[in-house]
Amino acid sequence: MLNYKSSINETKKYSEINMSEFEPVVKINLRGKKRDFITKIGKSLSIIIPTEPNTSSSNENLNILWLSPDEWMLYTNEKVHKLENNYNLEEKLFSEISKVNLGSVTNVSDHWSIINIRGKNTYELLSSGCPFNFNKFKNTKGAVTQTILNHVDVIIHNKDINEINLFVRRSFSKHLWSWMNDSARFL
């Protein structure tokens, strides 16, 4: 059997802040402009695609994040099995969207790593390397932003009060992780 190896798989605690990798979950990049694209996905996943910038919509097992007028990030709340990578979700969408040329469906599960950060100091940590203004964001559950954290591209999803999921490309994740740990010790 092939061994599954995530990029960070660590959990760290500092004053008022916990950080851990959230894996393995399915992540799918969706792109499309056509109106049918929006409705089709809504139907097949019974979730509304957010068209409002910097927002997301979620149900108990899925989140869809707005990334741009024609791009979304879909990810699961459920962790998936490590010993296979046949994702029904991916295949379903691919055949319903990509195959019929409504848009594009791309599995990016391992392109991105998700770091879950929670605790009172969550935004203190972000502000030590991120120019984004979180004053409004931090009180808006479900808010989404794509920005840079210590020069690394990230997607930030506001899960709850003082809890975020931070998306970082896998090859950058170790570096960002150690920077976050170095920052957290000064909070």
Binding site: L83, H111, S127, N150, S171
Partner: protein, 1001 residues
């Protein structure tokens, strides 16, 4: 310490907490709350340094960031020492060690002082006029000039301290915690605006904090008592953040402000460790209120630079705030009312004030009357013409001013003193306002530049806006803040305010003397030793613009950036040149406001965090197997895998040989990968690559070359067709990000009509390349149920497969010319698959090879590396790859540029192969190629782009670009090195297996 220099009744300095510190090796004592300056003065030490040019003795002159003279070296640890630190800003701490700068052997006896004797020979800019003979001696002259220049000493070991950055977004930022700033802060915060108030001192309150004077009262209590209550209310406001020990360094456009917060500099030596020393705040404020106050001006007269000559307001702060007497017999010299506040404070504290020398005719403001009531002697309409005392002032010489004040008259009065306070009026701190791009206006009556127009959301209030009297300060600060924030705060409307009003104003930039100017030394820039004479000399020589004068005389270019000298320089220029000051304009104030530590600007982006490090999913295996790594962009790639004490050369030879003899394995995960979907995917590829794509069969791969619009090779890689409208493109490692951006650019801006979507999947896949004659056997062991027969799975095709339950894509493509497979699998399984291949390959001596061997192997086959064999000046035709340029296609990126008069030239530099006469001689990459070594000037026809010793061909091979190369096959040429000339022959670019037999071997 001299007890008698400390007064006991003092609110601010805790005289029970004694602190010991060292200055110039001598142990001294001060109190918590002291600055180094106040502690030195309390110890009756005035002489702290030597000036830059003449090495004249210099003492403490101010009490804040404007200090030009008292700059010292802090600490003497090679990694922690800090040069050029202002004694007036160093908060005293246990273990502080400071020493004088720019003097040798000591501040008391300084050899350099000989310059003072030679000063007549070295006026402003003398160095432009001499040291030119003999010509080649400048090196020598310069050596000595450099030695005598410079102030403190740089550390010689790395800094142990930690620095940090923080971003901050607020509605209102208030800079300056004096009375105006406090009024503004309270107003903003009370109106639910997210407010930040910062001040560079350790407590709020500014100078009002210690203003306990009958002439300044608010609602019947002293202004300091009133302010104290205001400050208390601030602390109760929830949406107000107060940052002390924080000074704004730069005010950029879009209200982007950089502020330095000092976190440990004031702590005792043993408390500093493992803490962040300084933090740079990157602030975005919707609105900015500048309340930075004003700087007292010195007066310009002969020998106005001696230790013991201090700004009058500083003397006041030392006595009222620090409880320190700057002298026992103090004289004051002024052109305005503020010196009288000092006089009153001094005599209230029992310091004898000799007299006040005032250049004005008798005036009767409240404060002057009070001073007279206290019996303080005043010399009206008089000036100081000279001071005496080498290392400490001991007397001043006073004369009456003529009626028009252009000269001095009558007899000279000599007055003994050990300290002279001078006050030349006030200069609003408009530095931040101008930094932000704001324009200034000039106010004639008291010669001040004031904030005028700005296109940012900002105002200036208080004395930095030209309000100098308590009544105006309060009223105007309150009303402008209300207006600016458009709120209504009535707290400051019905206050009963007593404040002395200045009746008469008079200013003389350069005070007259009884001696001719040339025989006097009236200093403007105390640190750089530039005098009024220097400015006049510059003007005589035709340097009219203020910028010219500044640069010619170096006035205002010292570490205080002219905070005390700029106005006088301007004044003297305008007087001498007869130009109005308003028209003259100021020199530009450039950031930072006060010098800013490099470490603070850089924050934690040092060492490990200097730059991003990208790693492949298989990185750990490379580490475990002792790989050396190569930086490719931000990636760490396995370069070669030395076996114990094997040299790089040997390792690369071994790896390259193994790959062709049996099997090699390479981590190619860093290659860029772009998923392309959409009905126009094929058309899109037709437009971005030079070759045609529409006919590529599903399941097949094709190599593509991408150009810039200028026709030069930009990137290359293999693209596979997954289905009718679905491709996956690979790019070079370094080019990945740029290619993605470039392609999105074309899609969004030039070809929005195309139905194509791009998604980067670079990090999603681990890419493992197994090559060599035995690669087939190995892959069949790893993926048993995949039919690897050439018929089913030919070169340049791919198959979807599964390893255990994990889907993957296997491509049969080759960058080495060997039979090889590239397994692309989700990154999480990459390391496991790699290990599986390695296990399966053991019986075939599978050998991991790094980028260096990969480069060697592809060179044997004459495959190019974009960026190494091309340099942005090479077209596909130059590469002799005409086969890849579709003739049928109407257009593709860069096509038109291939037909310009220069790009169609036949004799451009073209890619060729090179063989050396001596097969063991390996050429140096970058070496130049010539046909005729005797021709002068020698003509360089091209250069070596790639060069290796091929273990498989057992000879040296190289690629090169050579002028007209494709016509020169077989021609003998030369590579001239420093010590020898190497004979070479131009050949074909393919050195090994021209027939590509090995691909299917």
């Amino acid at each position: 310490m001299n007890k008698n220099l400390r007064i006991t009744n003092n609110k601010f300095i805790d005289q029970t907490s004694r602190i010991s510190f060292k200055f110039d090796g001598k142990t001294l004592y001060g109190f918590k709350g002291d600055t180094l300056a106040s502690a030195l003065l309390a110890n009756n030490i005035h002489l702290v340094g030597r000036s830059f040019k003449y090495h004249r003795p210099r003492g403490i002159m101010a009490c804040g960031s404007e200090e030009p003279n008292a700059i010292v070296q802090v600490g003497n640890d090679a990694s922690m020492t800090e040069p050029n630190t202002r004694a007036t800003e160093i908060e005293l701490y246990e273990g502080l060690e400071a020493s004088s700068q720019n003097c040798w052997p000591s501040v008391n006896f300084d050899i350099g002082a000989i310059n003072n004797f030679f000063s007549p020979l070295i006026p402003a800019a003398f160095y432009y006029k001499t040291f030119m003979w003999p010509a080649n001696f400048w090196k020598l002259y310069e050596y000595f000039i450099r030695k005598s220049a410079g102030l403190g000493k740089s550390p010689t070991k790395p800094d142990k301290d930690i620095y940090d950055h923080r971003y901050l977004h607020c509605d209102v930022l208030i800079v300056g915690g004096g009375i105006s700033g406090i009024i503004a802060a309270k107003t903003a915060a009370k109106n639910n605006l997210n407010t930040v108030l910062i001040d560079d001192k350790n407590i709020l309150g500014g100078t009002t904090l210690f203003q306990e004077n009958e002439c300044f009262k608010i609602n019947n209590s002293y202004s300091n008592e009133w302010l104290k209550k205001e400050i208390e209310t601030l602390n109760s406001l929830k949406n107000l953040t107060i940052k002390t020990r924080t000074s704004v360094a730069a005010y950029h456009s879009y209200n982007y402000i950089l502020a330095r917060e000092n976190l440990t500099d004031h702590l005792d030596l043993n408390e500093k460790k493992d803490k962040i020393r300084q933090r740079l705040w990157k602030i975005r404020a919707k609105k900015v209120i500048i309340a930075t106050g004003a700087i007292e001006r010195p007066l310009i007269f002969n020998n106005n630079d001696r230790p013991g000559i201090i700004l009058s307001s500083s003397i006041k702060k030392y006595i009222d705030y620090y409880g320190v007497k700057c002298g026992q017999k103090i004289s004051l010299f002024t052109n305005n009312d503020s010196a009288y506040e000092t006089a009153i404070s001094l005599s209230n504290s029992g310091v004898s004030v000799n007299s006040v020398v005032d250049i004005r005719d008798k005036t009767n403001s409240l404060i002057v009357k009070q001073a007279e009531k206290l019996g303080i002697k005043i010399h009206w309409k008089s000036t100081v013409v000279n001071t005496n005392g080498y290392k400490r002032i001991n007397s001043i010489e006073i004369m009456k001013l003529s009626d028009d004040s252009s000269a001095v008259v009558g007899k000279k009065i000599k007055e003994e003193c050990d300290c002279l306070g001078m006050s030349g009026g006030w200069t609003p701190r408009v530095h931040l306002f101008t930094q932000s791009g704001g324009k200034l206006k000039f106010r004639e009556e008291d010669n001040v530049f004031l904030p005028d127009k700005s296109n940012l959301e900002q105002i200036s209030i208080g004395s930095c806006n030209g309000d100098f009297e308590l009544y105006e300060v309060i009223k105007n600060s309150a009303s402008s803040t209300n207006k600016f924030l458009n709120v209504k705060n009535i707290d400051y409307e019905n206050l009963e305010i007593i404040s002395s009003k200045e009746m008469d104003k008079k200013n003389i930039w350069l005070l007259p003397s009884d001696k001719p100017l040339g025989k006097t030394k009236p200093f403007l820039d105390f640190q750089n030793d530039s005098t009024a004479n220097d400015v006049k000399l510059a003007l005589r020589e035709g340097f009219k613009s203020i910028e010219h004068v500044k640069r010619y005389t170096t006035t205002g270019m010292a570490t205080d950036q002219g905070k005390l000298s700029n106005m006088h320089a301007l004044g003297i220029i305008s007087e001498t040149a007869g130009v109005k000051m308003g028209e003259l304009g100021t020199t530009t104030f450039r950031p930072p406001y006060t010098p800013l530590t490099f470490g603070t600007i850089v924050g934690r982006n040092v060492g490990e965090f200097f730059d991003i490090i990208r790693k492949t999913p298989i990185h750990d295996w490379h580490l475990e197997n002792k790989a050396e790594f190569e930086n490719v962009g931000q990636w760490k790639r396995a370069w070669y895998y030395p076996k114990e004490n094997e040299s790089m050369y040997d390792a690369v030879q071994r790896e390259s040989k193994a790959a062709r003899d049996s099997a090699g394995i390479l981590d190619a995960s860093t290659l860029g990968k772009i998923d392309i979907q959409g009905t126009d995917a094929s058309e899109f590829l037709n437009r971005v690559y030079t070759n045609a794509w529409s006919k590529l069969e599903i399941g097949k791969c094709r190599y593509g070359l991408m150009l810039n619009e200028d026709g030069m090779v930009y990137d290359d890689g293999v693209t596979a067709r997954l289905s009718e409208n679905h491709y996956i493109m690979t790019t070079t490692t370094g080019g990945a990000a740029n290619v993605m951006t470039k392609l999105e650019d074309y899609l969004q801006t030039e070809w929005p009509e195309l139905d194509v979507y791009l998604t980067s999947v670079t990090d999603h896949y681990a890419t493992i390349s197994v090559c060599g004659p035995n690669s087939k056997k190995i892959v069949s062991k790893v993926i048993p149920d995949l039919d690897l027969s050439d018929s089913n799975f030919p070169h340049m095709s791919f198959k979807n497969a599964k390893i255990d339950k994990i889907k993957c894509r296997v491509m049969r493509i080759s960058f080495t010319g060997e039979h090889s497979y590239e397994i692309n699998i989700q990154s999480s399984y990459g390391k496991s698959v790699w290990e599986k291949c390695f296990e399966a390959g053991k019986e075939f001596n599978i050998t991991p090879y790094g980028t260096e061997a990969m480069h060697l192997l592809r060179a044997e086959k004459g495959f190019i590396i974009a960026g190494q064999d091309t340099d942005g000046t090479i077209t596909p035709v130059d590469l002799q790859m005409n086969w890849i340029i579709s003739k049928k296609k109407y257009d593709f990126i860069g096509k038109r540029s291939l037909y310009r008069s220069d790009t169609i030239r036949e004799d451009r530099k073209q890619l060729v192969g090179i063989l050396t006469e001596d097969p063991k001689e390996v050429l140096e990459e970058g070496a130049q190629i010539v046909a005729d070594t005797n021709k002068k000037p020698i003509e360089m026809l091209g250069h070596i782009t790639s060069s290796y010793f091929s273990p498989n061909l057992k000879k040296s091979i190289a690629l090169a670009v050579v002028k007209n190369g494709k016509k020169l096959k077989g021609k003998k040429m030369f590579v001239p090195m420093e010590n020898k000339t190497i004979n070479i022959t131009i050949t074909d670019t393919i050195f090994l297996d021209k027939e590509n037999k090995r691909l299917n071997a």
